[in-house]
Symmetry: C2
Subunit: 388 residues, 2 copies
């Protein structure tokens, strides 16, 4: 294995919290593979660039010889967790969770090395827990400690409800660390509190506490909120090349340095160089964005696909030509009623937009044309023709 | 059954909270036996006059044809509950709880009618609960709602720890009401919050919410704190007649009206009459106290025993004669080390006092004599004689 000091430089790069660097140094000095935990809440089925930030850090650990322990929170997802949110997330059914879990495992293999990857489902140890176990676990922490978590504190102060079950969630997630004997846990900055709970529980159980390393949360395409599938501002890592390219091109200019830093997998020197040239005006914003889009698409689909996506983008958006391939969509009267159909509904139903909301955003952003003409009214009703 | 209005007058007498009177009226109007729940936390083995206040109210329900449903919180006692306390009560072992539960059931039969008494242990339905059940139950309430409970609010404000498990307790206790389909729940005023939780959970489950009726908390012999075995200020209902008589005679005068109202089983008119005569000086404090002591002893041991207890009290305390029966106690070197023994320790060890603390209180109250002489030093060391 590489020298601990070299490993520490790579692994600590880009971290927001590292609790503690001394602990990580000590663990690396043993020169044995560390178990690096990452929890995934299978509440949405597409992995996007925001979550890929953490997965890429995990990959760095793997490349240095450590083991990625991926915990699918299939049990906890059925509880509902508000981390970093302002409202309670509704619990999912066991079936929904299962579908998400399967597609997650498929997708992470695009970033992680399968040979040093251990996938566990937390239902394995949480489902058999009885009420006495839950009470024992819940006696390990206090109400005041829970109310220190930022989002809980905010909701409590604002008089917005916090379901008592949500207080149990960080404990269950922390218990995962005890069970898998994690040496390190990765997560976004919104997971800091939960991951420190794991460290505490491990110490209470006589284990060495895990190192907690957090990474920044990537803003979504709107440039404001954290990237999230449910907010319709995300770029999925398995989306087709042209989709990814187009979405990245729609980014607000101001976000480019963030994306170069967090979504390209580049080393920090290269990111600093592009950012500097962009700020100095030596690199035009549009060219920087093309470079960013090409880089991201190449990361998930390879260089040829990235080039093809750029050419297609130019055909449609620069030369205003029709796309080279136009999918057909036939109205299904089982889904849509006969008669005129609202445009936003149609875009959603045909799969061109992930939701009615995203459809309206596309229309308002002048992204939808009919026979070459931009349509601006999201509520436009289009006549449907019966084919027989 | 008696007319609802007559029943309501008897049952509502002495209540602090009655939520709601209209609901109770409506339930009584059906002229069918109501299920009246009372929860007992089997955390101490002696029922005292304080708890008897609630049991006597339950007996009134029985006499009117209703069913007493006594819930032994054998499961919840193993969690620890802080109701009305300022610190966390330590959880008890299953064995301790079982011993307490058995003696409780024996003792309540001195007050309740066995023919309309249903005794249930909440371990019956709580032990089989799994983690999913606990999470579902805990999603029924919010953190803010829990922090409304007086003792939680105080502890949180003062920065004293509240274990998260304590937040689950009121839910489990409330779930008992759902399971036994309680129509009414009785309790001390410190149980108001918990019992209202039961009402809420029942309504969420589509049941009619239980009526919550609370009764005052009786102060202990110190006249300050709520009567509690662990504070050493209690009078047990199964204590011998002379013990009970002597303890009641040691009450601060100011507490007499409270005890007449809450510990005699008298009707309110009779209580008011004695209280008035006492205040007016028509009844001397010492005579009132004898009447109170006689009444309480008679309630639990019958009139002849009460008279005998009074005579014995007079022999010892008025005439300074030795008690008619003097138990012998032999020092056990397995319990006490050989050599001089501290008086307080000796009183406790021989069973003359329930604790070292109570022993010191008895000594400081000039209640302990050796060969007719009052001993005032609780730390007096007495020589032990080896007999063989």
């Amino acid at each position: 294995m590489d020298a601990p000091a070299d490993q520490l430089r790579v692994l600590g790069a880009g971290a927001v919290d590292l609790i503690t660097e001394a602990d990580l140094k000590r663990k690396l000095a043993r020169q044995t593979p560390l178990r690096v935990k990452l929890g995934i809440d299978p509440t949405a089925s597409d992995i996007h660039l925001g979550f890929a930030v953490v997965l890429r850090k995990l990959r760095q650990f793997q490349e240095l010889g450590h083991v990625a322990v991926l915990i699918l929170g299939d049990f906890t997802a059925q509880v509902g967790d508000p981390s970093g949110r302002t409202t309670t997330r509704p619990p999912l059914s066991a079936e929904e969770v299962d579908v998400h879990a399967r597609t997650y495992v498929e997708q992470v293999q695009r970033i992680l090395l399968p040979e040093r990857l251990e996938v566990r489902r937390n239902s394995e140890w949480l489902t058999p827990m009885g009420i006495a176990d839950v009470l024992r676990l819940s006696s390990r922490t206090t109400v005041a400690r829970m109310l220190e978590r930022d989002d809980f504190a905010t909701r409590y102060r604002d008089g917005r409800p916090i379901s008592l079950s949500e207080f149990l969630y960080p404990l269950l997630q922390g218990w995962d660390s005890v069970v898998v004997r994690a040496d390190v846990e990765l997560g976004g900055t919104d997971q800091l509190f939960n991951n420190l709970m794991g460290r505490t529980l491990q110490e209470q159980e006589g284990q060495e506490g895990q190192v907690v390393l957090t990474l920044p949360l990537l803003e979504g395409l709107d440039g404001v909120q954290k990237m999230s599938k449910s907010l319709g501002n995300s770029v999925g890592i398995t989306e087709p090349p042209t989709e990814q390219f187009g979405k990245v091109m729609s980014l607000p200019d101001a976000l480019m340095p963030r994306y170069f830093a967090l979504a390209t997998g580049w080393d920090p020197d290269r990111v600093a160089d592009v950012t500097r040239r962009l700020a100095a005006g030596d690199l035009a914003a549009v060219d920087a964005k093309r470079l960013l889009a090409r880089t991201i698409v190449a990361l998930y689909h390879g260089h040829p696909a990235a080039e093809a996506a750029e050419q297609e983008f130019d055909r449609v958006f620069r030369d205003h030509a029709a796309p080279s391939e136009i999918p057909e969509y036939r109205l299904d009267t089982a889904t849509l009623p006969p008669g005129p159909v609202r445009l936003d509904r149609l875009l959603h139903d045909s799969g061109l937009a992930a939701s009615n909301r995203e459809a309206r955003r596309l229309i308002q952003g002048r992204g939808v044309r009919r026979d070459g003409e931009v349509i601006e009214d999201p509520e436009l009703a289009l006549p449907a023709v019966m084919l027989g």
